[in-house]
């Protein structure tokens, strides 16, 4: 049993003397005797707390008395000294004797006063406390936990309450001055008084209790007719009633005291009331019963009760035993036997006394007490004690408490109370390593648990050793029974042993992604060969494999592909067959535990263990499930702390939402590493008990160990999760490598290129090289994948660098390039000229190459031609020169395109040449003119004339042919080759232009009519048509000049008519505008006159209203109201007028 207090005998009086009362104050012990003698002893402080009292009390007693008699005053009082107490602040010693209360000086012991009114006093009580008056009003939220500061006025208030007859006499000292007294009447003679607050006293009568509020002089009953007041539950009511019914108390000692016992527990501001075996708690603030606190159960009826920090002490009614209890847990911590005790002086320096002996209760250092409790494995008590103690008593209290709680949690774990254990671990934010050490390596991931007993060995020694043993035993005894179908375990074991080397592991074709794999050697086998040196590693591998095999309902002896594996896993874990899962779990865990023990092997052959095993598997599953409580909590806390470290959130934010103060050191110095341990363990747990949660875990931000994740997820074919994990971790290379391998296999959900494509779609420009690397193959299979990857309407696809994508797709196929460029140009509306150019050129190439394979009318040729035209017409971004240079000169396919291009560069003549000579579509030629005709642009003003010229003075045939306008020269391979170098201004064009400038066309008859310069016949019909439709848009003189002289006048009729009309229209319009302008002139003149008529006359006497000087001949300003002021005064006048207006305006409003 704990030795919280050590009794030290301090006073031993002769048998004649009888101790009637004791009181200790500071370093003095006052002992009042029945004879009226007062003895005062000096207490040697060095012996009380500071000296570690590790040895037996005997040694203590031999080492000299700890107290020294200072003085002994006989006849201190007339009668016996019935009660002694003091008011330290007032330096007053209070004594009760002969029914009177006497006041003495505490130091000199001189009698100060006899309180006359206290005649018939039976009991009194003192209270002395500091009152704090805060000068400032603090907000209510902070006021509660705020400590009194020096700024506050401190005032000590001491109270003395004396019960005499049916009255309470209350005296009050402030400082050392008695300032007042009052009387409060009660219905009966009080038997006991207990201060529960400085200004509240609990007053025990014969049959009931009253709560007396001294300043208010109110008396309120706690019980009414033996029943407690207020609604409280039945159990408590019964207890309370029992306490209230003092009269029925049969306890002799209680009768002697006159009432039941009460003491105040300062820790939670409650008051414990005891009567016989019953007890109840009152709130010191309100005086109501606390429903939440269960009563203390005493084995022996207590006769005296007190509180000495931090324990409740009581003396049994038999008066032979002092009991020390923890006020929180009520556990009886210590019992000290004494000869009959009659007096108890509680408080800081507790003393007990019999009729002639006094003992000092010397408190052992708390550290020693704690160590003792821990040694005794009373962890609850140790926790409770440390929680109640103040920081000053225990060094490093917080950490000690944390450590204790962790020990307790470990104990609970050993008792299979996993949930409680884990909750406690989370409560103290235990380091993950410590918690995980309780679990087999399959969960904890701890490396090579080589010691025989597995992780349980790491539990604290001593606590519940029996429980520990059973746990261990159970676990060790678990047989490994082979696959779930019930094959003989021996056989299974044999198979396992051999299979590990023979069976290709399920992830056989994944080896390339594993660094340690070489060639086509299966991973597991490889790992085993590596692990030959490190046996534990091999064991572990094998355990995993065995577990894996358990999970597979059907055993595939031959090369079991990972596909089968993953399917089987899917069934096993998701299906209803959970029991087989837990079986395997048990095996798995037990394998992990007993990794290197040989007993495991011997146990294997015994089939009798089949039964309890499945039950135990559930327990283990339960343990793992409960681990989640801790892991999730730790994960959240660590992530929050990490946010604080990284500055995402502030410490203040954290404190705002958490009650406990979190520091980064709560878990461990290296948060990153702790996070990794926690998340990895979480993953392992999920893998075992709830694989469906692996997905959410790896998709979220996590710190799982990459290696473990890969190992675990590959083992069970959780490809989708693994890929999600890689994605979340931005390990895109790994993910894509895996996807590539999976795509080659068959039957999985990941075969084929689609998963790769879907993954690539999620990657943006920062991973563009990876995208290119892995996009090639899917695109080779189907070009549509290219569209999916590069042209998806997603931010990722759009973020990809367009020039780089273009370059990439260009290397793959032209059709994809065209699609991509079309997407960029038309859908994304990219305005960079490069894409427009490249698209046009790509169309061009498309037409060219298709033209060699298909006939010119074929859709394969015509479609790109149309697209090209569309682009050329709609886009304004491309460089026409560049496209023109790339166009074959003689291909009919591009004639219209060329026309557009020429038009773009302002070469209307050449555009028109195409319409006239090549396409021979005069309507289009006219439309073209219409579209570009613009009288303001010098270049396009003359288009109609140009067209007319082409009709009437066509260029030489050779020139036309050279430009490929002649339809006869169809597109040919040779032609296309030759045309490639056709420049923007070919030499032939220059040749052609030169004669024109020389007025070549104006006198065609003078030219030498050889073959080269033979002109095609003029197209009079088209010309006349043009003239009649658009005659007005070209100069009549120029037109007539071009017309051959033998043109029939009638055919020109319409031209003339339209021209005349146009001219007439112009004349009429001009006339109208002339007339309008005249009107305008008149109006303006009128305005002028009006303005001129506004005049002011300035005489010699006329003065300026501002400066009041004569205006004379100085420069003046005239205002609209004809006020005349000096020019210089105008500004100030204007201001006064404005301000007046303003005032008026305001008044109007």
């Amino acid at each position: 049993m704990l030795r919280a207090f050590t009794p030290v005998p301090v006073v031993d009086l002769s048998s004649k003397e009888r101790i009637q009362s004791i009181y200790s104050s500071d370093d003095k012990l006052f002992v009042g005797l029945a004879s009226g003698t007062l003895k005062v002893y000096q207490i040697d402080d060095s012996l009380s707390l500071s000296e570690p009292d590790t040895s037996s009390p005997k040694k203590e007693s031999t080492g000299g008395s700890p107290v020294k008699l200072i003085t002994s005053i006989e006849k201190f009082t007339k009668g016996s000294v019935d009660q002694l107490s003091g008011l330290e602040d007032a330096r007053v010693l209070v004594a009760l004797s002969n029914g009177y209360v006497y006041l003495y000086d505490l130091d000199t012991l001189a009698l100060q006063e006899r309180l006359h009114r206290t005649k018939g006093a039976v009991v009194f009580a003192t209270s002395s406390e500091l009152k704090f008056h805060s000068l400032f009003n603090y907000p209510p939220s902070t006021a509660n936990d705020r400590r009194p500061s020096t700024a506050d006025i401190q005032r000590s208030v001491s109270r003395l309450v004396v019960a005499a007859k049916k009255k309470l006499h209350c005296y009050e000292w402030q400082g050392a001055e008695l300032i007042g007294s009052r009387e409060i009447s009660v219905s009966e003679r009080p038997r006991s008084l207990t201060f529960i607050k400085p200004d509240k006293i609990l007053c025990g009568l014969v049959v009931e209790y009253f709560l007396v509020d001294i300043p208010a002089s109110t008396v309120s009953p706690i019980f009414a007719a033996g029943r407690p007041i207020g609604a409280i539950d039945n159990v408590l009511a019964g207890v309370a009633a029992n306490i209230g019914n003092i009269a029925s108390s049969a306890s002799a000692s209680a009768r002697r005291q006159g009432c039941a016992l009460a003491t105040r527990l300062p820790e939670d501001e409650s008051v414990v009331l005891v009567n016989e075996f019953s007890s109840a708690f009152l709130s010191a603030d309100t005086g109501t019963f606390l429903k939440t606190k269960r009563p203390i159960k005493f084995r022996d009826v207590p006769a005296m009760l007190g509180y000495s920090y931090p324990f409740v002490i009581s003396v049994t009614a038999s008066s032979k035993r002092l009991e020390v209890r923890n006020p929180k847990t009520y556990t009886l911590l210590q019992q000290i036997s004494f000869p009959t005790l009659q007096h108890l002086n509680d408080g800081k320096l507790p003393f007990v006394a019999s009729s002639r002996q006094v003992w000092k209760l010397s408190l052992r250092p708390f550290e020693a007490q704690l160590d003792f409790l821990i040694e005794q494995n009373q962890l609850d008590e140790a926790v409770s004690l440390i929680e109640q103690l103040d920081d000053v008593f225990i060094e490093d209290r917080i950490n000690k408490l944390k450590d204790l709680k962790m020990r307790k949690a470990e104990l609970l774990f050993g008792k299979y109370k996993f949930s409680q254990s884990m909750t406690l671990f989370s409560e103290v934010s235990a380091p993950p390593e410590r918690v995980l050490a309780l679990y087999p390596p399959a969960i904890s991931g701890m490396e090579y648990p080589n010691h025989k007993d597995g992780p349980t060995e790491e539990e604290p020694e001593g606590p519940e050793p029996k429980g520990e043993e059973t746990t261990e035993q159970k676990k060790e005894e678990q047989p490994i029974t082979g696959p779930a179908e019930g094959e003989s375990s021996e056989k299974a074991n044999g198979e396992i042993a051999t299979d590990t080397n023979v069976l290709p592991p399920p992830v056989a074709d994944m080896n390339a992604t594993l660094p340690q794999a070489q060639g086509s050697i299966p991973i597991a086998a490889d790992a085993i060969s590596i692990a030959d040196s490190t046996n534990a590693e091999a064991q572990r591998k094998r355990d995993l494999e065995i577990f894996d095999r358990f999970l597979r309902p059907t055993k595939s002896n031959s090369s079991s592909s990972k596909v089968d594996n993953s399917n089987a896993i899917g069934k096993g874990s998701r299906g209803a067959d959970t029991s087989s899962l837990s079986d395997s779990l048990a095996n798995f865990l037990s394998f992990g535990k007993a990794s290197t023990t040989k007993t495991m092997r011997s146990g294997l052959g015994d089939p009798d263990f089949l039964g309890p095993e499945s039950m135990d598997a559930r327990t283990l599953a339960k343990a793992v499930r409960c681990l989640l409580i801790y892991l999730i909590d730790a994960r959240r806390k660590i992530s929050r702390l990490a946010s604080v470290q990284s500055g995402t959130i502030t410490k203040a934010d954290l404190d705002l939402v958490s009650k406990e103060s979190m520091t980064a050191t709560a878990f461990g110095a290296d948060l990153e590493r702790e996070a990794c341990v926690v998340d990895t363990a979480l993953l392992r747990c999920y893998m075992l008990i709830n694989p469906q949660l692996v997905g959410p875990l790896v998709r979220l931000a996590n710190h799982c160990d990459k290696k473990v994740v890969r190992e675990q997820l590959m083992m069970y074919g959780k490809w989708s999760e693994l890929i999600d994990f890689y994605y979340a971790k931005k390990l895109h290379g790994d993910a894509l490598g895996l996807l590539k391998q999976l795509s080659e296999s068959k039957k999985t959900a990941f075969s084929g290129p689609e998963p790769t494509v879907q993954y690539l779609q999620k990657l943006g420009n920062e991973n563009i090289d990876l995208v290119f690397e892995y996009a090639k193959e899917p695109i080779k299979i189907n070009e549509q994948f290219g569209i999916d990857i590069f042209m998806a309407n997603t931010p990722e696809a759009e973020s990809l660098s367009r020039p780089r994508v273009e370059k990439f797709v260009l290397s793959i196929s032209r059709s994809l390039t065209i699609k991509y460029l079309e997407y960029v140009v038309f859908e994304l509306g990219d305005l960079s000229p490069e894409f427009h150019n490249d698209l046009a050129l790509a169309y061009l190439e498309d037409v060219k190459s298709n033209a060699q394979l298909y006939s010119l009318d074929d859709e394969m040729v015509q479609q790109p031609v149309r697209k090209l035209l569309k682009l050329l017409r709609e886009s304004k971004q491309y460089k026409p020169e560049k496209i023109l240079r790339a166009m074959p000169r003689d291909s009919t396919l591009f004639m219209e395109s060329k026309a557009i291009l020429f038009s773009r560069i302002g070469e209307h003549r050449r555009a028109l040449e195409i319409f006239v000579f090549s396409i021979k579509d005069y309507g289009k030629a006219q439309d073209y003119c219409m579209s570009v005709y613009d009288t303001d642009a010098p270049n396009s003003k003359t288009v109609f004339y140009t067209l007319l010229e082409l009709y009437l003075r066509p260029p030489p045939t050779k020139y036309i042919a050279a430009h490929g306008y002649n339809k006869a020269s169809a597109f040919s391979r040779r032609g296309s080759d030759a045309s490639l170098d056709t420049g923007l201004s070919p030499p032939s064009s220059a040749e052609y232009l030169r004669p024109q400038q020389n007025g070549f066309y104006k006198s065609p008859s003078t030219s030498s009519m050889n073959d080269a310069y033979e002109h095609p016949p003029m197209n009079l019909e088209a010309a006349l048509d043009l003239l009649s439709n658009h005659g007005s848009r070209l100069s009549a003189i120029d037109a007539l000049e071009l017309l051959p002289s033998d043109t029939n006048m009638t055919s020109l009729g319409q031209f003339f008519e339209s021209h005349l009309r146009e001219t007439n229209t112009t004349i009429s319009r001009d006339r109208i505008s002339a007339a309008l302008l005249k009107t305008e002139l008149v109006r303006t003149q009128q305005t002028l006159l009006k303005l001129r008529s506004k005049n002011v006359s300035i005489s010699d006497t006329k003065t300026c209203p501002v400066c009041l000087k004569r205006l004379g001949s100085s420069v003046i300003s005239v205002f609209p109201d004809r006020t005349v002021v000096h020019y210089g005064c105008a500004k100030s006048y204007k201001e006064t007028v404005d301000s007046k207006n303003q005032v008026r305006h305001n008044v109007d409003e």
Binding site: Y416, T470, P612, R618
Partner: protein, 199 residues
Amino acid sequence: MLKVIILGDSGVGKTSLMQQYVSKKFSNQYKATIGADFLTKQDVRVDDRNVTMQLWDTAGQERFQSLGVAFYRGADCCVLVYDVNNAKSFEALDSWRDEFLIQASPRDPESFPFVVLGNKIDVEESKRAVSQKRALAFCQAKGNIPYFETSAKEAINVDQAFEVIARNALVQEESEEYSSDFSDPINIHLDNDRGGCCS
């Protein structure tokens, strides 16, 4: 007692939805939720039963997210809220769902009831950033999660949504009771006092 957790980005209207449902009130003022808060709605009629719903409102802002008690545990239904005018809040739903699954670790994550609410549909159509089609596709992909478009401000669809939430939560609670009855039997073969465990 049905425990319902409401999750979603900050400012999507979690608190407002809850207030509207429980006390038929709406405030235009934004006040960030700190930690977590819950409201209780009593006498919710689900088919023929009267149930009490405890609605846990959570902080959307990272800095105010709770750290202490794992209040996700024992949840019967999780409500994911986003703002139809804020595409980011929609995209975050997946993470919120994953986060919930990890925090709550339900025994059967696939059948655990979620309900998605697209809030703030009272805002003018031109500001809408997430189409109904897109939201429905998401819900479909996540196992046919019920989807509602709501307005806490104008009390559109709020009661209807919570009716479904209550019904699904009730189903979940019953199934949970069932499964915990059968999957964690009391082990009579052990002498040790294996106390109650997490279930």
